[in-house]
Symmetry: C2
Subunit: 650 residues, 2 copies
């Protein structure tokens, strides 16, 4: 009998045979648990926690059903408290039913890394919140102005651009105003939002002013902390979207909300808690208090937008896919439960339409196609793929159901961009031997072997498929060439072909890491969806060539643009006009945090861009079908013809 | 040994000898407990609850110390649950220390009444919140507008005066918008605040729209519920300000906030809970849900304003008495914890200055002296006295420390305007025998005796003092005339003079109800403060006569204007130009609820009225001293000369 096992926070899941130990399954799934004693129950390092005893069905109380009883070793090595909190030793505990297991930091061998987007645009630092230091007149029997009037008068006296009639005050700030003024001996620092609302007031002179931006992805949540007085990015934090246990894609999240009475509340709470955790992590690393974060920008796709803002996403999941709101929103952080300065606002950029969300608007204000004359194709690859096409005259957008293959999901040894993930791959055309680069390691594996591979992340997946195609291991239609003679190409247990990238003795997971025929199919489906989407918008625009391509997405590293083109991720384009920019949505969020004028741009572009429901276009199926194959000569991929001409024949 | 006893919610308190039963003390204090068995422990009707075991010092846990142990009768007549909740039978339980006792509704003989202000001005019905019914286009793949845009479009299409760009939506309403629209099958009723913010949305056509106004007095909180579609007042509720246990006047409330770490929180919570209770009481009586209350107007003096809005009142209590804010405020009810429609606002009118609060502004928009040419003197009598003087050209205001005598406090048998209170008194000039009217009884006592007196409320106090003066029982200086020969005039235990209004066999409290020399002094101090305040503002204005007087205040009934003039509550004026208007502050609150334009008037008058710190004026002491006496011939009280000339001489 097979049971479902999920490992958190890495997000690996799958079916396994009843009766295996947690440690065995972890290894099978590429979850890298500490186990220096080799799994004989003597070191106590492979500590894990049972989060749910019966996956998606029963609560924690049914734990006894789904795991073997405590062993004598566990009773010795785990404290009473740990036992009561459902900690177990992975090597001693057998899985007897569906479980969700979380791996504590100390038991995990490597910690995830997030690579900083390299591209930094120049723009004016002009945050939505600013600090103003003022010195107040003390009240007398003659000057009995109230405290708030006193503050407003001092502000407009000293800062000419502020208008007295426009200045309001957050209610919570008002409740403490009198005390703060006296504490500061009539010298205070006021924090103004949009130069009109006092969202905080502090005694004396206080220059510290921070803001956060958070990219709430379906799979990953990535946050940054900025010093709003300098524009400097001070720290980053990221984690798996904890909703992932309810499904990989947005549709499964929507249905969880719809099927469960408190589904939305639960899902919302998970996200908010994770955002708060990331904020705590970031401020701890630089020793400031959360109250010093005065502004926060959230970007997300439409479904994540709705769930994060506690809006029922139900109607996004069914035709005609209408959202509840598309306007930009400024919501008090305290109304959302986000723990920063009490009076602060959360800014969410506008949504374009349906599935094209605030995250795509964020990509647009980062890439600014509306300021350019050349026809730019912007592809943002996340769990969904979003495409923008056009220039200063006109912009079109569409959304493509790529599935999460490029995020490492639905790929046998896929994983997200974390320490131990293979992020680059090369295959020698003659020997068909691979070389690869692991996240956390500076050199290629052939040069240095201090780290062992755990799996393969998005950029690595694109690389390995492209290299397999370039070296003739797979054919134009994606099937394996069986005549290569390489021992790395073999049939798996089910008789399906696979290519071994790393032999098990060289991995951290004790299993061969391979790319399977099924993985190749998943990549084909994903890239065909993007290619067909691009073709549709080009057709709509009435052009048959593009001047440039921007590849965006929160990959582990910047994807290799040549590899991307070799697998046919986008239509033909001179590779020197293709740029890879990393997480442009996250970058746009930072930009909107640092320059409030970009929020006006966001409003404008969201209003003006035209959304194309590409899947509803009559040519879509044909385009999609044609794009399933990998590029070959007749495909008119002129710019990589030199590569295609050199594919070895076996 | 004497101990402190407080009865809630009536607010009676005093010192009594250790060892008396609760029932005895209740009778002594005029608290009317049910006790059909005559107090022998057999009926179980005199159930009371111990709220605090040791007055203002220890919590509820020390109850054993301050009451005698449970008797066999109590164990029989009280359930286990009642016993654990500190219910006791008043007749069986002896007071052994300081206690706060609450009297449940069912144990109280009469329920308080609140008399409706008679004067109703004509004004346009134009509430701040309005309901708009709209029918929406259903979304299609072509018309993929978001729900909020769809609602806005439908609103401006149907109602020309609404502007699309101005319409915003409350965040909480947004979270339910999608579901409400579908529930209503694309027909919804939107509730707009100020024609710009959607503060509620309901499925289908729903015309119910209510609002509440609350006059948060230092002593009493009085609330009204209005139908905002008709302007009709549907119900009333009122109760004692529960903060009264921390002191009668605003200064004691300020010091409680200052001296206790969570003082403000505690005080604020008491008020908010009481407001919520009154709202519940009102809506229950007319069977609507609290969510149908879309607007609420609160009026209060400055200290109550600050405490109710959770703003530290500390600096109001010390020179130069500055308030934290004086602007009108619109605060989300949910931020204050007031339980009405989730998106609704609480409106608080602006404050003039220092102790002249939003309640006085409320009186002004009710009486509109700024629309008149004649010089009007408005006296609002609460725990403090507030005076406004002037006309359309100029307005002055001042505040007078009257003490709470006119509210029935600091008067031996004083009580607030509740069932059983004497509200009118006449004294026969020859026999010196009194007649009186009790609240809840239509006729004078000499005509009908279905109700028994429990005490005397504000209007009764003014009456009895005026009648005692007119009939020669007291002299111009307030002292008793000992030569009257009436057996109603006698010395009390301490050798002080008193006049018996009701003999004990005719009262509900088993004690003679009298007016003492000390009571007369309290009235003299209060009326002198008001008179002196009026003189000061007249002087400032440079006039020596007034065209009219408005007597306002939340008395049990409208005070007798002749009585008020006879005791010298205000300077000489033709009695036909004196009007008594009841609770004008509460009336103003209702008006601001029903007509939003009056809120602009409030803003204007608060800004333009000039506040005079009368007690700081050099003439104040002299004026005050001169006003202590009751009016006599040389006082230039021309308009009551005929009365003064006919005072009997003994």
């Amino acid at each position: 009998m097979d049971v479902n096992v999920v490992f958190q926070p890495i997000g690996r899941k799958g079916k396994v045979c009843l009766g295996k130990t947690i440690l065995d399954v972890a290894r099978e799934f590429g979850v890298d648990l500490e186990s220096p004693c080799g799994g004989n129950g003597s070191c106590g390092k492979c500590k894990v926690k049972l989060e749910e005893g019966f996956f998606e069905k029963y609560g924690i109380d049914s734990k006894a059903v789904n795991l073997s009883p405590f062993t004598r070793e566990e009773e010795k090595l785990l404290t009473q408290e740990e036992q009561s909190q459902n900690y177990r030793l992975a090597c001693c505990t057998k899985i007897m039913g569906d479980v969700v297991i979380s791996v504590p930091n100390e038991s995990e061998r490597g910690k995830q890394v997030i690579l900083e987007a390299a591209k930094r645009k120049l723009f004016q630092l002009n945050p939505a919140v600013k600090k103003y230091y003022i010195e107040l007149q003390k009240p007398t029997l003659e000057d009995y102005r109230d405290d708030f009037t006193r503050v407003r008068d001092a502000l407009v006296d000293k800062f000419n651009h502020l208008k007295k009639d426009r200045i309001t005050i957050d209610y919570k700030v008002l409740t403490s105003l009198g005390n703060v003024i006296r504490e500061g001996k009539y010298k205070v620092t006021a924090v103004l939002w949009m130069d009109r609302e006092i969202i905080s007031i502090e005694p004396g002179l206080d220059k510290k002013i921070y803001g956060a931006s958070v990219d709430v992805g379906t799979t990953t949540i990535a946050a940054s902390l900025c010093d709003l007085s300098t524009g400097e990015i001070l720290s980053h934090a990221s984690g798996l979207n904890p909703q992932i246990k309810y499904g990989d894609d947005v549709l499964s999240r929507i249905s969880y909300c719809g099927m469960n009475e408190k589904g939305l509340e639960e899902m919302n709470d998970l996200i908010i808690q994770e955002i708060n955790r990331l904020i705590q992590e970031m401020i701890t690393s630089i020793s400031v208090k959360e109250a010093y974060i005065y502004d926060i920008v959230l970007v997300f796709n439409t479904v994540m937008h709705h769930i994060t803002l506690n809006i029922d996403p139900e109607y996004l999941g069914q035709s005609p896919f209408s959202s509840v709101v598309t306007d930009e929103l400024n919501i008090k952080a305290r109304e959302l439960g986000i723990k920063i300065c009490e009076g602060a606002y959360v800014y969410a950029p506008p949504i374009e339409a349906g599935f094209v969300g605030a995250d795509n608007v964020s990509v647009l204000i980062s890439e600014e196609p509306y300021k350019q004359d050349k026809m730019l194709l912007i592809i943002d690859i996340g769990t969904n793929g979003e495409i923008d096409f056009g220039n200063s005259k006109m912009l079109l957008s569409t959304s493509c159901a790529t599935g999460p293959a490029f995020e490492g999901a639905q790929i046998k040894y896929g994983m997200r961009a974390a320490s131990g993930a293979i992020e680059k791959v090369k295959i020698d055309k003659i020997s068909l031997e691979p070389d690869f680069k692991i996240i956390g390691e500076d050199c290629w594996y052939s040069k240095s072997r201090t780290k062992m591979a755990k799996g393969i992340c998005g950029s690595g997946i694109i690389d390995v498929v492209a290299e397999m195609y370039k070296s003739g291991i797979i054919r134009t239609d994606g099937t394996f060439n069986k005549k290569t003679g390489s021992k790395r190409i073999r049939k798996d247990d089910q008789g399906k072909m696979e290519y071994i990238i790393v032999w098990k003795q060289d991995t951290a997971i004790g299993n061969d890491i391979s790319i399977t025929q099924k993985d190749i199919r998943a990549v084909q489906l994903a890239k065909a969806a993007l290619y067909a989407g691009a073709k549709i918008v080009m057709e709509k625009m009435g052009v048959d060539a593009i001047d440039g391509v921007v590849l965006a997405g929160a990959f582990g590293s910047y994807i290799n643009k040549e590899s991307a083109m070799v697998i046919g991720l986008f239509p033909d384009c001179d590779l020197k006009n293709v740029v890879t920019v990393g997480n442009a949505a996250g970058e746009g969020a930072k930009i909107a945090l640092l320059n409030v004028n970009k929020r006006d741009e966001a409003k404008k572009v969201a209003k003006n861009i035209k959304f194309i429901e590409s899947a509803a276009e009559k040519n879509f199926q044909t385009e999609f079908y044609n794009a399933m194959n990998f590029p070959h000569a007749k495909d008119n991929f002129a710019h990589i013809q030199y590569i295609l001409d050199n594919v070895p024949k076996f």
